[in-house]
């Protein structure tokens, strides 16, 4: 197990290094100098040069990369070109919306998908199965931001149960959760549909295994067999999908934040793009990719804990 963890850790670090080089290189080949962009059309060459020096743009590329990368390790993301504030602070503030939103959505999606998938698999071919499969087919076809708009129309504009957007802050956690509810439901819908399908097919696979027949033969009831044997084994593929979905949730949150005017990471990125504040774009993208790589690493490890057979491979 230790050796497996170590080899996964190695590839984790490699991925992070390569990802950071790719992101840095991509952003650095941008046409247009941030310094001249910030100062406008009529700036004097020496003012631009001075600002370039102040922003650290005058040193060679590889030095800037090292500076940026070592900064990231210590939690220093650099300074925003436009706001002149530490990016780490800006990100931390926004993360308090984006991260709870992603976790909220992941929880909702799991809470919907598990019962739906189990119901569909245990009553295969029944009306319940057919309707779960029908709903999931629809769920994956609906763009989450459109679903969000429809919910705003119904629950915010017509019924007035929720506000149509904005975020009241975490002073009152209940109000904050309420403001995140519609966005989380919108994000959860397609994910829950995918997860329910995976749950169903994974459970159908394990239910036809020999050990399930053995369990039934030794006198366990259907329910006992399901909970003790079938479900536990079906969790392995389900876990992988949950890990993968995290990346889609982070990305999905970027779009959903725009529907609900939530001041999260997504809005930060779009502001930064329009102001050509590239170092902010760079850092947020790196943070998102970092999160995805870490979550996938955690899933790999969890996977190996649940299923010892996997430790040998790779």
């Amino acid at each position: 197990m230790l050796r497996y963890t170590f080899s996964r850790l190695q590839s984790l670090i490699l991925s992070l290094v390569v990802a950071s080089i790719v992101i840095f290189a991509t952003v650095e080949i941008v046409p247009g100098d941030p310094a001249s962009f910030m100062l406008g059309m009529n700036a004097q060459p020496d003012t631009i040069a001075a600002l370039r020096e102040q922003l650290g743009l005058d040193v060679p590329l590889w030095q800037r990369y090292l500076h940026w990368a070592t900064g990231l390790l210590g939690g220093d993301f650099g300074t925003s070109y436009t706001y002149r504030t530490a990016i780490a602070e800006m990100i931390a503030e926004r993360l308090w919306i984006s991260l709870p939103l992603a976790i909220y959505a992941l929880t909702l999606s799991t809470l919907i998908a598990f019962p739906a998938g189990i119901l569909a698999a245990t009553r295969r071919g029944s009306a319940a199965d057919v309707s779960v499969m029908g709903f999931t087919q629809l769920g994956v076809a609906i763009p989450n931001f459109w679903f969000a708009m429809l919910m705003v129309l119904v629950f915010a504009i017509n019924l007035r149960w929720f506000s149509a957007g904005g975020f009241p802050g975490w002073e009152n956690p209940l109000l904050a959760m309420k403001a995140l509810t519609l966005p989380a439901v919108a994000l959860a819908l397609p994910q829950a549909s995918i997860l329910a399908r995976v749950m169903r097919s994974a459970l159908l696979d394990t239910l036809s295994e020999d050990y399930v027949r053995t369990a039934r033969a030794k006198g366990l009831t259907r329910r006992q067999t399901l909970w003790r044997h079938a479900l536990r084994n079906a969790l392995i593929p389900v876990l992988t999908i949950i890990g993968l979905q995290f990346s889609f949730l982070m990305a999905g949150a970027i779009i959903i934040e725009n529907v609900f005017f939530l001041p999260g990471l997504g809005r930060l990125v779009f502001q930064a793009i329009s102001q050509r504040d590239l170092i902010v774009v760079e850092s947020v993208v790196m943070l998102l990719v970092f999160a995805v790589i870490i979550v996938n690493f955690a899933v790999d490890i969890a996977y190996a804990i649940v299923d010892p057979r996997l430790r040998g491979n790779r």
């Binding site: 991925s15 080949i29 763009p143 459109w146 429809l150 097919s201 779009i255 993208v285």
Partner: protein, 277 residues
């Protein structure tokens, strides 16, 4: 062909998809109204108004015409993005399988993992931040994400095909790995590629809609479903049809493609048809 049309999923999916493909093709020759002009006198007409089957938007543009022209954007972006995925991903997958365990295999698969760590929207944000938003950049962003999907699928399927007797006899006959890959492996993974292509196509349509909704896709004046939705948002309380109709267009197209994909999978693999459904 008969097997295709008697499969219910495939038939319904094909019907739904054809409606939108036909709409997109017809729009090159004819649309009920011009979509580039502004006609304030006829703005915000409800659906089923005279002369405007699906109503008009806040500029008086005919929504049916907009959806037809928008279908062009969605289908073109998703189609080219799938094309990029296949043209780059399939040869990579074949090469990785042919050289299983080699450095090349390792490098190809590791780079795939890396691309997977970037959700397509994040790639799009990076590209847009650099080159500015456009339909072409949306295609590149979605296309890059398709590459590892096809590379993995091809490698996985090709690995098991390399164990077959006919590949062994081709090797004995002196054919090189490249020739075997294209003559014997590729034809046998085509079915899988078609099914996956359909699924990626539908994901591409969703991704394009999302990107143009946040302004990173096709730019005005090119109509796109995502931007129609973005524009409708402030008017949703008094003109809900502006938000409903382009959304339904996306849902039906994606649903159609997914049903086609499911149908094709059942048809190509009768084993699954009997066991799983």
């Amino acid at each position: 062909m008969k097997a295709l049309l008697t499969n219910r999923n495939f038939a319904i999916g094909l019907l739904l998809t054809s409606v939108f493909v036909a709409g997109a093709l017809i729009s090159f020759l004819w649309t009920p109204h011009d979509t580039s002009g502004v006609d304030i006198a006829n703005k915000l007409k409800k659906p089923l108004s005279e002369g405007y089957l699906l109503g008009t938007d806040h500029f008086g543009r005919d929504i049916l015409s907009m959806i037809m022209v928008g279908a062009r954007t969605s289908i073109a972006v998703a189609f080219v993005a799938v094309g990029i995925g296949i043209v780059i991903g399939v040869p990579l997958g074949l090469a990785a399988a042919a050289s299983k365990g080699s450095l090349m295999d390792e490098v190809i698969m590791r780079s795939n993992d890396l691309v997977f760590a970037f959700p397509s929207l994040v790639i799009a944000i990076l590209i847009t931040a650099i080159f500015g938003p456009s339909a072409v950049n949306a295609i590149i962003a979605i296309g890059i994400f398709n590459v590892p999907v096809f590379a993995r699928l091809t490698r996985g399927a090709a690995l098991s095909l390399w164990q077959r007797d006919y590949v062994l006899s081709a090797q004995v006959a002196g054919k090189g790995p490249a020739r075997i890959s294209f003559e014997h492996i590729l034809p046998n993974v085509t079915n899988l590629l078609i099914v996956q292509g359909t699924i990626q196509f539908s994901l591409g349509i969703l991704a394009e809609a999302g990107l143009s909704y946040v302004g990173l896709g096709a730019q005005p004046p090119i109509p796109s479903w995502g931007r129609m939705l973005a524009e409708s948002q402030t008017m949703i309380s008094f003109a809900p049809h502006m938000a409903l109709l382009p959304g339904l267009a996306i849902v039906f197209t994606v649903l159609g493609l997914n049903l086609m994909g499911d149908g094709l999978r059942d048809i190509f693999d009768p084993r699954i048809r009997r066991e799983k459904r």
